[in-house]
Symmetry: C2
Subunit: 268 residues, 2 copies
DNA sequence: CTGAAAGCGCTTACAG
DNA sequence: CTGAAAGCGCTTACAG
């Protein structure tokens, strides 16, 4: 199927392509008769302007790339839905980049993040949102950081609920520490004194921050923190079960558990 | 930040842009020394070819559009994850189009489907996947159908678990009727005779097909189908609760319920 | 192994 | 209100 271009429309309407472009974009007044004639041809041929050509010229694509670890983890679709709605209302659409690895090799995930970062830039997205992955690492590799910072000089990058040292990046985040303090406070007010902290990953900054909030609040109330009641092991349902079992197997049991993560249903 | 192009690289390397393009794409032999020089400049400038320009020429973008109703319904991310993995291994990425409406006005959803359909074509995606929405309607509007069929003449369109009259569209689907027959059969083999059918929407083809399978199997076993035990009302958790309560309020109760839907957790 | 030139499908000053 | 022409950043015959 030979695609129709502004030239085809222009020829058939006996005008120049400039004029066609003008009615297409409403960018300058066009005589009513001419405009009508052109409109008719557009409908007749079902003409749709090639966004690639336009973007090449205007240097904007209306596309936002989003790099996330695993779309089957319900946290991300929830975030995505909100972001998407706002973006849509301003004429943007999303380029989805899921970095989860099949083989559960997590190093793989960061490689994929890098690949997607380049890909998105080549595709000339107007902005990139990163959530999860390297931006939650307590000690990310220097190159991992550098890469994002460099990319951030070329296109706006937003880190959602995470961070990376080195400026030039936009951020939106929640106060993990304070959240954990409030949660712990709540348990204490309910009368609990034997509280466990179970879940997350020791190498992730969000887990660490929550643990700090937890520890701080416990100390402030003069409560004991038992080493064997502080367990990490991930964000999956399975890990949650395993850790909980381990906790319950002990001779002494906590009366409350602070799980610094939602134990997402895993789709696997 | 002035972006660097093949021209900049060419000039600095004292070669033509054709040669730069050749090393970029490995599309023709280039003298080692020249290639090395060019590669070095590419790294030095962190040059990334503009995919828009390339796609404009090659008439392929490596992008697949996916139109779905609501990314927060876990069914879709699960499908997406599979599709994405396969696509990724072949160098494609996804353009996500979520059509859910804020205001819960479902007519809105179909309008959005149409908008996204055009948008995706303008963006020159290499293919479109549709799942949910109009392709599950028992009696879709003529225009709704026509629109997709027309689009299908310009770009490959895949209907996932749904259908639309009129050829030219690709399809992948499950046999809803047989699935329902098997499920019903199973309940009967367990000894149940009073079985209810609760959930879904009467205007959706998948619900209808499942109901047909249910009815057929019940009849084949000479079992009675009570009108008041066939209830529809949606796919959400809330609707499931409401319908179930209604069922249990009756004077006689079924011993088993066939819910022709997963009652998805709603993120709202 | 390499270059000059045309072309992908648009938009945008510039000129009238 | 309208047109001719340049240009966005690439790739690809064609010719050597």
């Amino acid at each position: 199927m030979k695609t129709v271009t502004v030239y085809d429309i222009a020829r058939e309407a006996n005008v120049s392509v400039a004029t066609v472009s003008r009615v297409l974009n409403n960018t300058a007044p066009v005589k009513k008769a001419t405009r009508d004639r052109i409109m008719e041809l557009i409908h007749k041929h079902q003409f749709q302007p090639n966004a690639l050509a336009r973007s090449l010229l205007k240097k904007e694509t209306g596309m936002i790339g989003i790099i996330l670890p695993d779309i089957t983890n319900p946290f991300f679709p929830a975030v995505l839905a909100g972001v998407e709605q706002e973006a849509r209302s301003r004429g943007y659409t999303f380029f989805l980049c899921d970095t989860v690895s099949t083989n559960r090799d997590s190093a793989d995930q960061y490689v994929r993040e890098s690949q997607y970062l380049s890909l998105l830039m080549e595709k000339q997205v107007d902005g990139i949102i990163m959530i999860g992955g390297r931006i939650n690492l307590a000690r990310p590799d220097k190159e991992m950081v550098q890469e994002v910072v460099e990319a951030g000089k070329r296109v706006p990058i937003l880190l959602l609920n995470g961070n990376l040292p080195g400026g030039g990046l936009y951020r939106i985040y929640t106060d993990e520490t304070e959240g954990a303090e409030l949660a712990t406070q709540h348990l204490i007010e309910l009368g609990h004194r034997d509280i466990a902290f179970v879940g997350g990953y020791r190498h992730m900054s969000n887990t660490i921050q929550r643990q700090q909030g937890f520890t701080k609040t416990m100390r402030r109330h003069g409560l004991q923190i038992r080493r064997e009641w502080i367990l990490d092991g991930g964000f999956s349902v399975e890990s949650g079960k395993a850790l909980m079992e381990r906790l319950l197997r002990g001779s002494e049991r906590p009366t409350a558990v602070f799980a610094p993560t939602t134990w997402w249903r895993s789709a696997h």
